[in-house]
Every structure is written in structure tokens, then in C-alpha cells.
Symmetry: C2
Subunit: 484 residues, 2 copies
């Protein structure tokens, strides 16, 4: 049954009008009442541009206050926001805009050339508003946003998020982490990605502030944790590394109760270092299709189950298509899981059966049911008859002194089918292939030791800082790189 | 869309197997894992009695652990629990059993004579269990329980609660009160009433213990608050009075963060006394149809808005069918509101329109939108052209030194249509009608001063301790009572 709740921003503006909703690095704050009023005003102006129920409107912006307002404004018109990754090429953007049937794109800056129609936030603000009723309720079954998955192979797919998906995601997170009226969530992950967007909605649903950084900046991030009363922050592995480097002998305040780690498996050595500094890192597992985290380590198990992503959140379920304890594909189910891909029944049918989403990730559960994610299924390297998980090798290499980051892929090989090869970014140019191989041999079985090592300044990562391994494949093909 | 979540008790047993689920006054505790295992075992035994999906099974018990187990056991079979008020007469019970089509009644003790088939909890335990699959998921649209409203006029109506109603009720409460893993909820209100049942389900959904008293006992209740690590307790007005009397110069521990007050409007004098003793009383408003509280005063406003029931919980809405600030009937809407009465389309249609439930209660909202409940609509006294709210008079009388409780109703009167008459229970037998009238005249306009005062040992209250005014009407008719 389609559940109806009051419009969440209007409701929070009524329950906690003076509470801070958004806090920016320059000290500017917006209360829930202010955010509601601005969003409703913006909605009235958008109406002048023809936006109506069901309109698909693109949003292309960094974490700017106008982006937040635009997202909420569309909900007051029952229009659908298509959130666009600012790092995409023109061609990639146009594909998504066309696929989603976007009418025009709201942009923060006029620095992108697009064939599609655009409108600057600042130009919308100059319009007169058009009167008329704004939505006062939310039907949880209706579409809220569309976010395209980076799509490492084939065409990107538009993940449809209903309001209900986000409600359930927020509720599941709250049941795991608890909720205090003193909570403040730090967001440096982009709002065009589900990791950032979900923080924005938790803020509205819980009635707590988001401390929002326009872009990730390690110094600002560290400062926010140290001095701004942040209690929870969403992080990816690289941010944790940066924090450890900046922390030296200090400790973060006790009020910082959760660093929610997403974006792929983290090296255990890093988690151990964070533990030694009493940083409350909780591993989690999720993807655009699950409206952010769906499996999260609980506070009580965070130190005990290092390396695990935890258990599925209260409203969610998990299964592995393999015998007990063996590695298999991870399936998840729950009301935060997307009902499907936009305008793509085939992809939906392929990925979701009876509510179970095939994640394409490989993992296993221990005896107590804790999930360990080992890799993307398609990144699995099969060498001889052996399964090799790139992540395992990457974790070993990342733990080596002097290596900043590492990526491993399979390279076609006449005899073995595939062999593992590694790409590394180093902190000291003196580190050699031999050093690395010697280190690897100490920690890995022979067949897992990379047969080639390539040096890069930085590894290719997507907007959510996930390693994009297929770009490493491109490097191999380009032959621009020499094995040292 | 019907949302599917994992079975909530199995899920909590997986997330927090060793966490206490139920704590009894004698010190016995049951973890979530134990509670799940016992409930599943009981379910298998119930299957031997023919219980299957859709069966309606009565439960007639005080707050006994077997009652808790029975409630959960039925969910594993997708059967529906019909929760019966132990204070009802045989005739009243048989009406409900017949109306709901109950197959048999699970009873804790064999002390009630019923025409319907019964089974003692202890006899069910002796049965062999029948194997077969138990429900591993919950469809939130399905029926969980039926609870009959006391029905002050006409026949009682069976309020259908879906799993979703309780999920949303629990979620709404959590968003208002926050959630800490240290929480422990004290339940002395009966589990056959929605106020008690909802505590049981919050426990399962939040993963926190219920400290459960078999019956309300003021000494045990006080002790539990003082020494058992209780953080939240559900109370009615009389319990708050008892607590104040027992507290003397002491204070409850700071960890006691909420006394959630339901069961009708409380005298402001009492709330002021509680405030003076730093008791964190939060007024709330709700009924069986709303799966417990739907309007609750938030922690930050609890001291500022004394006398108000607060604002509708995050997922809920409220409206008054009267101009701004005037008294009118209270309407509420939200996913915790029942979808209707069992097998009674007419009553459902009369009470619920477009999702809005007509509560039959009168109230108004202040400028900031806080609700003040003034009375039951049908209890309104119209004297001359004046509206008189019995609750207003009751609050005044209850505040008088020496008066324990007061109830006011309208009595037919030739000239005025109706006149207010009062029933009081006094602490000192020396208090006289003249004393009371003198006090009333000091605090009330002339037309509100009761024209007759009757003395009772106790006022008639229902199982949830609500004053039952129509029984006062019966007193008038019986003519057993003399005005002094």
C-alpha cells in the first residue's frame, strides 16, 4: 500500500524551525524553516520554466546550497531530479540527459558546454515566482531522483530512487547508529552521488544538521571533525588515510562517534591504524541501487570484526549464492533497494528477481553472519584454475610503506589464461619494482604475486573515489606504460 | 507498494542475539535470541492446534512472558492475534471472539469461564511441535493484530493493526525521542492494549530491552525507575501522581529521559509538580486507531508547552475542523493509523476518509501548531448556549488539596439543557461539598461550577486507566448516589 507522509522538509520546518539544517565551511547556516522557504520559493520560480509533476530536470553542481535547494524544490513540484556527475564528459552527460528525457539542466556554473538546454541557479533566482499549490505530502512510492551508475561496462543505467527508498535507508541507518539530537553529519562526498544525497535526506528526516563541504579538502575535513561538533561523517578509504596522516598524536573529540566508511573494501592495515588512534570507523557496503549503505558494521562490533562490512541493516536481507562460508555473488533485498532502472526493463529484470538485487559483487559471510566483500565479480582474475581477488593483492600492496595506493587487474596470458598485474602510486620515487615484488612475495602465495608492476601518479577513481579498474585495462591496451 | 522486511524478531536475534529483550521484575531476562527460539518453538506447537496463516487466535493474559511469546509465535505462522482485555465480562469477551471469528483463545490462567474454546499457555508448551517452515519475512501490509476499542457507545469495534502500522509508530517515536543503545523501556501498561503492545514492538525494532511488570504496582514501578536503568517509561496520569507521592525529596536518575504520558489530558498542576521534581514528563495523544501516540511533545518543548500534547510525529499529520485556534474535532493521518475496523466497512467509512481519521476528540492548536486536547466530542456539555469541557473542570477539581480524582459529566436539565455535575474520590473524608464548591467558584466561571457533587471511592476507569464517563452517567441513572 502506498504510504503517504507529510512533505519531509515542510514537516521538519514545522517540528524544528530554528534547528540548523545546513552548515557551510564559511560559517553560513540555514535553518529548516529557511531551507523550506527558499526551496518553496525556488519551486515557484521553476514553475515559470514549465517544471511540473513528472518533469525530469537535470542538476549539475558541486555541493552548493543552491543544489540542495533545487533538489528540495523539485519535490514540491513532484518533478524528478536527475543528478549528474560533474566529472563526466559532455558525451557522457548528453547520453544520460537523453536517456532520462531531461527537459533542461540546472547548473551552478556556466563552464560546461552542453547541447541540452541549461539554466543557471542564479538566473532562476532572478525569475518571478508563479503561484499555485505546492506538494504538502509525499507518496513514498513516487520517484524522487534518478542517478546513473558509472557503468564500468556497457551503457550507464539510471537508478530510480523513490522517496520510500530514502526513507527506509535513513530509518535503517538510524536503527543501527542510534539518533541523538546533538548529531551533526559531515558531508564531503558529492550530493550528485547517493552517498551525499542520502546524508541530505537523513538530515531532513532526523532533524539534524549537515556540515557540507563544497568539495573534499583534507584540511577542511580534518578541521570539521576536530572543531565543528561533527558526530558522524561519511568517508572513503582515502579520506581515512588523510585523517590518519593529519592526526599525528591528537585524538578527535569523543563526540565524533562514527566515521561511516563506504566506497569499497578497505585495507585491514588501515583499519588497524584507525583503531589505534581511536577513530570510530564503521565499515559499510552499499551502492547506488541500495540508496547508500545496506550492510553496516554495528558500533558494538566495529573493533571486533575488522575487515567485515557487517550485517544487513534492520530492514534489509542478504544472501550469498554459494555454500556456507564460501565466496559467491552477494544478493540483497529490502525497501531501500531500487525498484529498477529508468526506462530499462531488461536491465531491471536481469538484476532484480523477487526483490533480490544481484550486486555483481563477490563476498562471503562468517559463522556469525558478518559479510566480507572480496571483490567485484567481473574483476575476478582466474589464473590457471585459481581464483585471484584483486582486492586482496591491493590491500597487501597498499599496506607497504611508501605506497599510496594500488590497483590490480588481470592481463590476458597464453599459458595461465590471466595473470595479475599491479598499478601503484608511490610516495617516494625511490621505491623499486624489486622492493615491491619482495614485499609481495612475503605476503602472498606465488600465483597471487603481480607479474608486472606499473607506476602511476594517481590511480583512476570515479566521482565517489572508487577505483575504476577498467581504466587500468585501458592503460594496458594503450601501451603508454612501461613495466619497470 | 507492499514493503517486505525480514521478520523483525528473527532479525533482531541475528543483529543482537545476546542483548536483553525482556526483563521481568523477578530478575529473569530473555535475550532476543532466546525470545526468538521460544517464539518459534511455541509457533510449532500452535501448529498442532491447527493454527495457520490467517487464523484468528485470541490472547487473554496479563503481561506474562508467555503472552509475549504467543504474540510473536502467531507472527511466525502469519496468524492474527486478537488481544483481549482481561477486565471484560464474559459477555463482552464472547462478543469480540464471535465478531473476530476467533478459533480459540490462548489463556494464561484457567480462571475465566468462556463458551469459546480455550487453551492454556502451559498446555500448549506440553504439545509436540510440528515441523514446517516459519515465516522469515514480514509484509507490512498484512494484519498483525486486532484490538477492540472499549466502545463507550454501541458495539466495540475491532481495530486492525498491520505490521506496517506498528513499524511506522515505532519509527515516528524514535524520530521524536532519539535512540540510544542504552535505552530500556518500562512497561506496566497492559500488552493487550496498544500502549503496552507498542512497547513490545519498539523493543524488537530498536533492539532494546522492555522492563515488563505483570500488572501496575506503584512501588515496583517506582523501584524500576529508581534502580533498574530504565530510560523511558509509558505512564498515565495516575502513575505520575503515584510517582510524585513516592519521590519525596529524591530525584530519579538522570538516565531516565522520558516519561511518556498518554491516556488523556493531565491536570496542569500535576505537570507543574512533575516539572518541579525534574521528572521528564512528555505529554502525548493517541488511541488504539493510531497504534499508540501520534502527537507527542518533543523533548525540547516539554517544559515550555505544559498542557499541550505536542505536534504530530514526523510521519503524521493533524488538522482541526474549525477556524485557526478555535476548538474543533481532531483529525489525524499517517501510516500508523489503522486502515479500518475488522469486518465493519460501515464504521471504517464513517471514521476514515482519504486517510484522515476522525478521532471524536475536541482540541485546538496554538499559533505554533501545538495541539491542546480539550475533550471527547461526545462528552461536551452544552449548558444554555455555552460549551463546557468536562476536562477543564476535572483539572480544576483534581488540583484541589484532598481530591484524588474527579470526573465531570452533563446532566439533563429542563432550563439549561444540561448542567455539569461532578464525581470525586477524596483522600480525606472530612472534605465537604461546600469546600469543593467554594474552591471551584474561585477557579471557574459560574456556569462551569458543578451543580451537584457526588462522592465515590474510585472513579470508573478502563483497562488503560482512562476515565469512563458513561459509567458516571449510569451512576446518575441508577440513582444509587446522593448529592451531598
Amino acid at each position: 500500500m502506498a504510504e503517504i507522509i507529510p512533505h519531509w522538509l515542510s514537516k521538519q520546518a514545522d517540528l524544528a524551525p530554528k534547528q540548523t539544517a545546513i552548515e557551510l565551511a564559511d560559517g553560513t547556516t540555514y535553518t529548516f524553516l529557511e531551507l523550506k522557504e527558499r526551496s518553496q520559493l525556488f519551486a515557484r520560480k521553476l514553475r515559470m520554466l514549465g517544471v511540473r509533476a513528472g518533469s525530469k530536470i537535470g542538476i549539475l553542481s558541486t555541493n552548493h546550497i543552491d543544489m540542495v535547494i533545487a533538489i528540495h524544490a523539485l519535490t514540491y513540484l513532484k518533478a524528478v531530479g536527475v543528478l549528474l556527475n560533474i566529472r563526466l564528459t559532455k558525451q557522457e552527460l548528453e547520453y544520460q540527459l537523453s536517456d532520462a528525457g531531461v527537459e533542461f539542466v540546472l547548473v551552478q556554473e556556466d563552464d560546461r558546454e552542453l547541447d541540452s538546454k541549461t539554466a543557471l541557479f542564479s538566473d532562476v533566482w532572478k525569475l518571478h515566482g508563479q503561484q499555485g499549490e505546492l506538494s504538502s505530502e509525499i507518496n513514498l512510492d513516487e520517484t524522487f531522483t534518478i542517478i546513473y551508475t558509472s557503468g564500468t561496462t556497457g551503457f550507464p543505467k539510471g537508478v530510480v530512487h523513490t522517496y520510500g527508498n530514502h526513507w527506509w535507508s535513513a530509518a535503517g541507518s538510524m536503527l543501527n547508529l542510534g539518533l541523538s539530537k546533538q548529531d551533526k553529519w559531515l558531508a564531503a562526498v558529492p550530493m550528485f552521488h547517493v552517498s551525499g544525497l542520502s546524508i541530505l535526506l537523513r538530515s531532513v528526516i532526523y532533524g539534524i544538521p549537515v556540515y557540507m563541504l563544497e568539495n573534499y579538502d583534507k584540511q577542511q575535513f580534518h578541521e570539521a571533525l576536530m572543531n565543528k561538533g561533527v558526530t558522524i561523517a561519511s568517508v572513503v578509504t582515502m579520506m581515512v588515510k588523510d585523517l590518519i596522516n593529519q592526526l599525528s598524536d591528537d585524538r578527535y573529540p569523543d563526540t565524533l562517534r562514527c566515521l561511516l566508511l563506504g566506497g569499497g573494501p578497505a585495507p585491514e592495515s588501515l583499519l588497524e591504524k584507525a583503531k589505534a588512534r581511536q577513530m570510530p570507523v564503521f565499515q559499510s557496503y552499499g551502492m547506488t541501487e541500495t540508496s547508500s549503505q545496506i550492510v553496516t558494521l554495528s558500533p558494538v562490533k566495529a573493533l571486533e570484526k575488522i575487515g567485515s562490512s557487517g550485517k544487513p541493516l534492520f530492514p534489509a536481507q542478504l544472501k550469498i549464492n554459494a555454500p556456507d562460508g564460501r565466496v559467491g555473488e552477494i544478493y540483497v533485498k529490502g525497501p531501500m533497494v531500487t525498484k529498477g532502472y529508468f526506462n530499462n526493463a531488461e536491465a531491471t529484470k536481469k538484476s532484480i528477481k523477487d526483490g533480490w538485487l544481484a550486486t555483481g559483487d563477490l563476498g562471503y559471510t562468517d559463522r556469525e553472519g558478518f559479510l566480507y566483500v572480496v571483490d567485484r565479480r567481473k574483476d575476478l582474475i582466474i589464473s590457471g584454475a585459481e581464483n585471484i581477488y584483486p582486492t586482496e593483492i591491493e590491500k597487501v600492496l597498499s599496506a607497504m610503506e611508501g605506497i599510496r595506493e594500488a590497483g590490480v587487474i588481470g592481463k590476458a596470458h597464453e599459458k595461465w589464461g590471466q595473470i595479475p598485474v599491479a598499478f601503484v602510486a608511490v610516495e617516494h620515487p625511490t621505491i623499486s619494482t624489486d622492493d615491491i615484488l619482495a614485499f609481495a612475495k612475503n605476503h602472498l602465495a606465488g600465483y597471487k604475486v603481480p607479474k608486472e608492476i606499473y607506476f602511476l601518479d594517481n590511480l583512476p577513481r570515479n566521482a565517489s573515489n572508487k577505483l575504476v579498474r577498467h581504466k587500468l585495462q585501458d592503460c594496458l591496451i594503450d601501451n603508454d606504460f612501461q613495466s619497470h
